[in-house]
Symmetry: C2
């Protein structure tokens, strides 16, 4: 990784990197229904404003493998608005298009179709949310590819081995090889790695910058249920790791070689877990003969998400003053939530727009059952001030938490 890029613009790839946009997530929710689309539009605008050569996505563009008519329509509208136009595409496609796009009736990269005026090509693999479905195994990404709005690649249908041939691109004097690996069940892919049945076919010559884009568990979610970093071949320069929603987009080196991993994270929180509260970003990746540079761009439209814990005071302690422990609990919780809402407000940077209602998740731990209270009622009291009144507060016994903490060791 080299932060001093001296190459000329015509010899530098400029790529917008994002993943896990989960279009259609919670689309029927009156407050949050538009979130996934609004942020996806922000990402497309960033690509447009920064005049990137292309967009590279890491899977889970859609939240459902059978999105609603509304969701597909909305996505097509956005892609058509931002990715068609007169800006010339300055990249050259060197590898065999009839191989990469073999599942399409017209197997060509979209910007070479004489009937379409593409300004920003989008390349994407599929994730576990937008994988092929039905007895004909068609992904909603195939629909976008058929309409000429994206280039869907890296699909492997062989259950016994995975041979990845990279997409080869050239811009000026820089050469880029993109190894796409659409989502495969982690257990199966892990097994194939162990059995040395995953091969990546390096192109001729030595001056290629090699990017692997995949969509798999990086965090161990069970034995053999993730892809160990050691499975990444040494010659890969940069891994774009989709599927993990925590934003760790700044490339981190692994092992003793020059391989770096960038984990962009999702552009929308699809759960109220800690990792989703890390501020969401996309990145501008520049690749030249000097190396690469990855500039994170914080997303402005993402709804603030504040997650915290609250340990209620112990009613058995000496200085406990309240008569009704549940009333004390409600007072303490309300105060805490007010603080969290205030904190969310400070995160809102774009003062030209009103701050969106924040996502709030407070885990409350009680000592005894007298401290328990109605979480639904407290949610209702914050309706209009938070985006998720229905699941804002989670109530747990402190002993359960202590047990859980102990069992980790």
């Amino acid at each position: 990784m080299d932060n001093s890029m001296n190459a000329l613009p015509e010899d530098t790839f400029k790529i917008l990197i994002a993943t896990d946009n989960h279009l259609g997530y919670s689309e029927k929710n009156a407050i949050r229904g538009q979130d996934s689309f609004v942020t996806f539009e922000e990402i497309l605008q960033l690509a447009s404003v920064n005049k990137v050569d292309f967009i590279l996505l890491g899977g889970d563009l859609f939240h459902d493998s059978r999105p609603s008519t509304y969701c597909i329509n909305k996505c097509i509208e956005l892609l058509r608005k931002y990715c068609l136009g007169d800006k010339p595409v300055e990249i050259e496609f060197l590898s065999d298009q009839s191989y990469h796009f073999q599942y399409q009736r017209n197997p060509i990269v979209n910007y070479e179709d004489p009937n379409l005026n593409v300004s920003i090509p989008v390349f994407t693999i599929h994730g576990n949310h937008d994988d092929p479905t039905g007895n004909k195994q068609i992904s909603v990404l195939d629909i976008l590819a058929a309409s000429g709005l994206i280039n869907y690649f890296g699909r492997c249908n062989d259950f016994n081995k995975v041979d990845i041939k990279p997409i080869l691109l050239q811009k000026g004097e820089v050469k880029l090889a993109i190894y796409g690996l659409s989502h495969i069940k982690d257990e199966r892919l892990g097994r194939l790695f162990l059995d040395r049945k995953v091969t990546m076919k390096m192109p001729q010559g030595e001056d290629w910058f090699n990017i692997l884009v995949l969509h798999q568990n990086r965090v161990a979610r069970g034995v053999k249920n993730f892809i160990p970093e050691s499975a990444i071949p040494n010659f890969i320069d940069l891994v774009i790791w989709g599927h993990e929603h925590d934003c760790k987009i700044t490339p981190e080196p692994i092992g003793n070689n020059n391989t770096h991993i960038s984990q962009p994270g999702s552009s929308i929180a699809t759960s109220l877990a800690l990792g989703e509260s890390i501020p969401k970003k996309v990145a501008l990746l520049q690749v030249s003969k000097d190396g690469f540079k990855m500039i994170p761009i914080p997303l402005q439209t993402v709804r603030p998400f504040i997650l915290d814990e609250l340990f209620l005071e112990n009613p058995q302690s000496e200085n406990y003053l309240y008569e009704k422990p549940s009333e004390q609990a409600v007072d303490q919780v309300k105060q805490k939530i007010n603080e969290m809402i205030a904190k969310a407000t400070t995160q809102h940077k774009d003062k030209s727009k009103p701050a969106p209602l924040p996502l709030i998740r407070l885990k409350v731990f009680y000592h005894n059952e007298q401290q328990m209270f109605n979480t639904v009622r407290i949610g209702m009291q914050f309706s209009g001030r938070v985006a998720n009144p229905d699941d804002m507060v989670k109530l747990n016994s402190i002993t359960a938490k202590e047990k859980k903490a102990k069992s980790k060791f």
Copy 2:
């Protein structure tokens, strides 16, 4: 209607007329699954070979309002293959595009989009099978329109009145006004007609050829459950009547004026009813200052469909020879079906391709229950020779039929 067209090609609209393609009908059926797509492709090829100015569809392009991913993908692939290309579009759009295409993010006619190279514009209304769905009321046709492959018009969201402003097109010296009325519940539309709350706004000037395209019941399927021909305004020259699947494509005059109705019928049989056994056709409509001409084109790819009735011999009659009436029935039925298959074979004209398995529907009427037989078993015996072994034979009591016939009077 004038069959002697002397106008020059540059002063003659050439339009391919079709309706009710029902893409995705029975798509999971191993034998018939591709039928709707194969015939839709034939229609697009006819449009291409005949170098039409545009295609006009009458609704029910899709069989389901939420088609499978496969079905949407397939439709987009076909439209992209046949409707994009270098053939110049020679028609001029005169009316307000931002009105006609108001439900689109980019409300323009597709062939005027500088980012798309459209060769054959498709104009369509929606039917009752591909109408808007969900709380956002989006039709699968909106997806096709968003991707720039069709022009979806004639949608009315007002439940209290229908004001139809026509699409105005010009080619050379001919002017065409197309009044689009996407499907509305027949009861409601019928009421609105009665209350004189349906208006069609005629354009200025008198030299317009006026086409109304609608998708409603034409046949009375209950009181007030159809649109009477008398509801059609006098100034309409030609009605393209979608929804009714019987092919009656040759224009028929109505009333005392010059209005004609063409009912193209579906391009695939979606039931084994008598009307669906009429040979399927589309038409080439030519409109010039001299008038119009509509040339029916029989579809070659449609699976033959033979429907017939068989009255079993009465076991109580004098010359009844069989010991087991059910055996006699089976013999008679088999012979009849063999004759029907032979008849289907003669309908197959294109000798360059193997004849597709025919659809066969035989209604068998018995006199007493001893004549009943296993229709499933007989279907299995014709498996491989007919397209619908599962529902080939329907068994009914002759007395039930006689009763039904009497009750009609």
